[in-house]
Symmetry: C2
Subunit: 441 residues, 2 copies
């Protein structure tokens, strides 16, 4: 969940960008519109606030009408989808009609498609010849991961970019070819528009109050934007007027980081698990996790990181008491006396995971994520996390309102942040994992 | 990934719906546009193909211009977001200007907001009074989960629905209030427009060929749409002309299900894990899982199901060989001889999980999901799955191309489908888990 008073990353390139995402599967809710998320974020980083995203059916009339409107209004139009080999894909033709351009056959594209099929040991289908057309006054954006290349047109002082729909094809073309071309034309910034300081465990208001003295020294040369999401707040430092150089922005960000201490997580957009993983790897330390209600989400946070086996020993998802006893050596009497949702069990799970798997650190989560479960003492939303480190073991109780997915996500983030802080402290030579906002044991 | 030649669920209500999703956080890619996914799917089920989704900034001028355009073109306009208490939310005013309506203060809304704050032990903020306005010729859609109510207007033969942005507020209002009202006006079907037959393990073309004789008997009274996504294909049976009754559609779906045998998964939209879970629960059987490369995704598939502790004993995410030995009793000599990515290890993991956790079934996945790892014999994308059941244990080798997330998702689906088939067979009294498309051991 993003905070309500999010400010965009002070757009500095005041060009009108429109994104047309084509496909009935988007309008029927069968696939999420990941193109908006990806392209919006990429443009935002380079100083552009996308003005509009329109999703329409891939019917030719709808495409013609919408493209005509967007092309008249915008400086840059980006389309996604509708370039495939099946007969439904009439996007090229529809767009050519509006541009007043012809489509011309491009033998180079056929060669690329044939080479691709040859590598896969298959023969090219005649359908694929449809994909071998480009605009007569336009260029081809090579597609290393699929058959349909992207298309590029500069006309009437505007730019049109057409991209294939599959994300693993679209994203490399966008990052490697489209962004540099747009930057060269002055339609995007040459590098990222802001320096992002990512924080954890501090609220948006408290963060603003703490950093304000730094910001005040720079007056309106500096623009600040905050974005809060589940336990993290990002602070973006930019200079839309260009009065401050990138080196100066970097310095300001470093000053913020230093003032924030442990609440500073990283520059840029790394995940909490990634930051913790880097700290573990730097010291050649290992981690084991154990979880109940979060059901694998804590383990996934680490296993999504490439090369995780270097620091991640493994994890246990323990739903039954039997599994806690069998996998983590949690004593039966402890479960009987305190219950599975207790500080005692969280500690036993963290220690059990670390000891069983021979890891330096053990991180555990137990609780009621809802909607079922919960007791008077520990209602739905109650979470215990525990951390076992070479310096000791601690547990804290947390409570999060909201639906199951929110409770789980916040519990995982709280546990990751606790590990991260302990690793930061340990690197400094300090040895207490007490942390903020939670009772120690 | 949805198949390219998806046909929509034959829309039978030919009304023009437009969805306006407001918010810079969508355009900056900070949050995914889940409203499109949710509302598009809900409308699709009731016979409507959403015509257009436009995402714009929450700046008042942009809202006025876009709403004027959509209101002129559509029969039903739905807006999301921009109803919060902060000063950026000018959506109501912008829309009122286009409608030529006044906003009037509604004391009932204030009462509801006050009652909500009282329940949470907080006092209402003056900002919230902004949310107490409705259109003078319009109604209020009560919000049980937040402060901003939805708004409803019927004017010029059209309908306007304005919904608050948080999904946990929007979705209940839409399902419980908006859908019945629209159906009553004949703008949505009274019940679902189609019967969905969900299948697994059979390709789209093969499915079509197999079911064609059934479809042929009904000629153009029947409309069929297929939608493929990662190992599953949905077949939607509808009668846009109304020549076939719902009872007849149910019969046709049942005939398809019977013809498909084990390839039939369920009616409707349940996940593979849910279907397997229901089969386990019906027989009071339990399951344990063990996984490497999928890093908790297999466990999550089950723990996302409410009440999972009834059938789910637990799971192990084993990255290191140490963890396989410690948690699952995989013999060290087996790992040395065959390696962790092997049929032998998959079997040992499945048996180990079931035995350690005292479960009836054990399901295991090991492999190289990429992008790192892989050997000549077992390149990236190689997956071994194994199933331990009361009747025996089997393993099969699979290979999936694509990025890590795709390989993992498909491996999990393949494992879930294998379990599902074994449970279906076992319920019938058959006892072989050999399955299709994979070697047995």
């Amino acid at each position: 969940m993003v905070s309500e008073n999010i400010s965009p990353a002070s757009p500095v390139i005041l060009k009108r960008y429109e994104l047309l995402t084509l496909g009935d599967e988007l309008l029927l809710g069968l696939t999420a519109n990941g193109h908006l998320t990806y392209i919006g974020a990429q443009l935002g980083k380079r100083g552009v606030l996308l003005q509009r995203n329109v999703t329409i059916t891939d019917e030719a009339d709808a495409i013609v009408a919408q493209f005509r409107e967007s092309w008249a209004r915008a400086d840059v139009v980006i389309t996604t989808g509708g370039l495939g080999p099946t007969c439904d894909d009439r996007t090229r033709e529809a767009v050519a009609a509006v541009l007043g351009q012809k489509l011309v056959f491009e033998p180079e594209i056929v060669k690329a498609i044939e080479a691709r099929f040859a590598r896969l040991g298959r023969k090219m289908n005649d359908n694929n010849l449809k994909q071998a057309y480009r605009f007569e006054r336009g260029e081809v954006l090579a597609n290393a991961h699929g058959t349909a290349p992207g298309l590029w047109v500069e006309q009437d002082g505007k730019v049109l970019v057409m991209l294939p729909g599959p994300p693993n094809e679209l994203q490399p073309i966008f990052a490697e070819q489209v962004v540099p071309r747009l930057a060269k034309l002055g339609l995007l910034m040459e590098r990222e528009a802001y320096v992002q300081v990512r924080t954890a465990g501090i609220g948006e208001s408290a963060l603003e109050v703490k950093l304000q003295p730094i910001f005040d020294r720079h007056g309106d040369a500096l623009s600040i934007a905050f974005c809060a999401h589940q336990g993290q707040v990002d602070c973006r430092v930019s200079s839309p007027s260009g009065k401050l150089s990138y080196a100066q922005l970097d310095e300001i960000a470093a000053e913020c980081a230093s003032l924030l201490g442990e609440d500073f997580m990283c520059y840029g957009g790394d995940s909490m698990a990634k930051v913790a993983a880097d700290l573990l790897r730097a010291k050649e330390l290992t981690l084991a996790v154990a979880e109940t209600a979060t059901g694998g989400m804590l383990a996934s946070a680490f296993t999504d990181i490439c090369g995780a086996s270097k620091f991640f020993a493994g994890g246990c998802v323990c739903y039954s008491n039997e599994s806690k006893m069998q996998l983590l050596d949690v004593p039966e009497c402890l479960l009987k006396q305190h219950g599975a949702v207790s500080a005692e069990n969280a500690v036993a799970m963290a220690v059990g995971a670390a000891e069983r798997l021979g890891a330096d650190y053990g991180l555990a989560i137990t609780g009621f994520a809802g909607p079922c479960g919960g007791t008077n003492e520990n209602p739905v939303g109650t979470i215990y996390i525990a951390l076992h480190s070479p310096h000791g073991v601690w547990s804290k109780k947390l409570h999060y309102p909201g639906p199951r997915a929110t409770v789980s996500r916040r519990a995982v983030n709280a546990a990751l942040d606790w590990l991260r802080r302990e690793l930061v402290r340990s690197a400094r030579g300090a040895t207490t994992a007490g942390g903020k906002g939670g009772g120690c044991r």
